[in-house]
Amino acid sequence: MTNFDPESIHDVKGVPVHSVHRHDVVIVGAGLAGMRAAVEASAEFDVAVLSKVFPTRSHSGGAQGGIAASLANEEEDHWEWHMFDTVKGSDYLGDQDAIEIMVKEAPVVVREFEHMGCPFSRTREGRIAQRKFGGHTKDFGKGGPILRACYAADRTGHALLHTLYEVCVHNRVRFYPEFFALSLIVRDGVCRGLVAWDVIGGGVHVFHAKAVLFGTGGYGQVYRITSNALANSGDGLSLSLRAGLPLEDMEFVQFHPTGLYQSGILVSEAARGEGGYLTNDKGERFMERYAPQKMELAPRDLVSRSIQTEINEGRGIGGGPYVHCDLRHLGADKIMKLLPQIHELAWKFLHVDCIKEPIPIQPTAHYSMGGIPVDIDCRVLIDGKSKPVAGFYAAGECACVSVHGGNRLGTNSLLEASLFGRRAGKAIVRFLRETRDFPELPSDAADAAIAEVERVLSAGGSESVGAIRTELKDKMSAGCGIFRDGGKLEKLAGELRGLEKRFRNIKIDDRSEKFNYDLLEAIELGHMFDFVELIVAGALKRQESRGAHSRTDFPDRDDEKWLRHTLAWKRGEKVEFDYKPVTITRFQPKTRTY
């Protein structure tokens, strides 16, 4: 533990001394990644966790289906099989060194959750129960679907998240709930802390730290139809970009096949894992045409494209933009026992009783494969390749390590968030054991953040933040959704620039400091503009189809040119690109069929 010495706190311009905090580690994000790291590091060091929502409100709690690990509790399984599925699922863009670490350590991480108290569902023998999930197979893809997803009914994320919060409480982790990170302080390649806004009380706070970890989650909110929470605005990505750091593989956005029609709220893949059918207007199980073997349990990108093709070719229900997910043949018992939350969701949000009626569904923006480039110890890389920023780490959905490559398999991201959160915690502990002193805190550390808040609070323009955000989401869905092409992407890039100009002329209704979501929503929209440009530019550059990135003008995968990761920076108005090779160890790229 470091002794707190108020005398040594630096003056930071414009910030009252009592609002400068000092902790060995400051973690932004209280999802699985952030809290798993906190559990690890708090055994030895003083850890603070900031989250813009109360910890248990983090989006990890929304995950339903499961967390992957080759426990072999239900049937034979091996980490090598899990690795093969993950590599193939990634369309060979995943880095195999990172994937190997993940699948090997997965059983340990899941069992640790059990030891912490997670209420997993159980097998007859009393072991952690496992279910099937898309893309997870037996015997290097040669066998059928495998029971690999460990679950707690269909509330797996909720069970894991609350368990971690409980352990953090036990370990006396210092939470700053409802603190919103505004900027990251990186100077001369060294991370020195961050600046945040106290949502409840108002006011800028500076956090001086030896190590900072981002576990800030995904950015589904840049799409019109999304499964993501309203808080998922990709703040961490923008903060990282603004600190001059790159983002990796941003063009890879996963669309989950089954969002509830119109709201995009997720119908878990468990619905198909337990035997649900997808049917079109003619009542056909159309997956027969796209993935005759795996059918509904083929990987997400493939199922989403199939649904979108049915819709585009006029076979949506009544010709509309949706199809059916039919559970009726499973029977009331099985539905209520294994899929109670799905039954509840369909009822509450669509007034559909899935025991009696099929559920109207459409693909929904779900997961970001790309993110802040990190090495296998979660150290953020300045050049995106090998040079770490001292003291800055990232894990979970905001990071790109890259275990998911071009497409993530279901249940692999709760695993990634917890497993790499844990690794980040361990790496931070090693770093802190060698780092006695706090890095120097520049006196202008908070300038940019203060200026941003003041700019929004005094905004006197005419444009509404809500209206611009709606347009941004609509345009992203139309121009950079499941199917993309060069023409549409170029048009979209222009439209986004126009929208961003309008964003500079916003008005604000709430000018107070206390609990001002009007202010925060404007800041979040500013964040979105920072990185959507990279998604679109990256998608335009990548002239091939791979995983979730599907170009109708370049329908094939092109390993010769594009078996590599995209790195992108924002330099002034421009996006700059660089590339790095994919790490391939055990499995050479093959055509991906299911």
């Binding site: 912490m116 036990h170 709201s263 509404s464 107070s512």
Partner: protein
């Protein structure tokens, strides 16, 4: 489509003199629209200063609990048209300190929670390369307990909490019982310690408001009954 008038209880901490007041917003509401959708639409299109918590939109994060037509509910799970009324009053949950408009302080909720040592307490170390075993029957005892989303609806509806601000609260009792009922937990004494107190279990008068208020259909009153039995058992034992 129906035109609905939302009568929203507002409060701005920077304007203490004005205190609480009601503001009306009219909105065209279609089938499928939840109260949260309506509030968002009002915020985004009519009045950006209207303040409420929200995140998941799907009833799992617990952010959006508020009092809708006199009943504590999750705004994101409440269909506007199902309320069957042209006027919908929306107020912050009762009993918690006000922060702004529909946002209340969670401090009493967290304080109560921490009092019950809300984590698995074990004395025997777990097997090193395996999970602890728990039969499906033992695991089934946690159903109806572990699903709590900490929205605060139950404690806000409890007369014992209105009368005693230090009352630990039904949400915390439910959490305590989630651990006491867990076959793996070896710390029931620790979980129960703070409950055998004038701010604890004995203040519950079994009014069942908490059961009615819970949007997840959980039953804190049953948990309280079981905990009382457990306390008595421990005193004798």
């Amino acid at each position: 489509m129906a035109m609905i008038t939302f009568r929203i209880n507002r409060y701005n901490p920077d304007d203490e003199r004005r205190g609480h007041y009601v503001q009306e917003y009219a909105l065209d509401v279609c089938k499928g629209c939840t109260v949260l959708d309506a509030l968002n639409q009002i915020k985004w299109e009519q009045d950006g200063s209207l303040t409420f918590r929200r995140s998941c939109r799907s009833g799992i994060c617990g952010s959006c609990a508020m009092t809708i037509k006199g009943v504590n509910r999750l705004a994101c799970e409440t269909q506007v048209l199902a309320l069957k009324s042209p006027n919908v009053t929306v107020e912050p949950m009762r009993g918690y300190p006000d922060i702004k408009d529909l946002v209340v302080s969670l401090d009493p909720l967290v304080r109560g929670l921490l009092a019950v040592r809300p984590y698995l307490i074990t004395k025997t170390p777990p097997p090193s390369d395996q999970e602890r075993l728990q039969s499906p029957e033992e695991r089934a005892r946690l159903d109806g307990l572990y699903e709590c989303i900490l929205c605060g609806a139950c404690t806000s509806s409890c007369p014992s909490f209105w009368a005693d601000k230090e009352y630990i609260g039904p949400h915390a009792f439910l959490k305590a019982y989630r651990f006491v009922a867990d076959s793996r937990d070896e710390g029931s004494r620790e979980h129960l310690e703070a409950l055998d107190d004038k701010h604890g279990l004995w203040r519950c008068h079994t009014i069942f408001n908490c059961v009615e208020a819970c949007p997840k259909d959980l039953n804190p009153t049953r948990a309280i009954g079981e905990l009382k039995k457990e306390l008595v058992r421990q005193r004798i034992g």
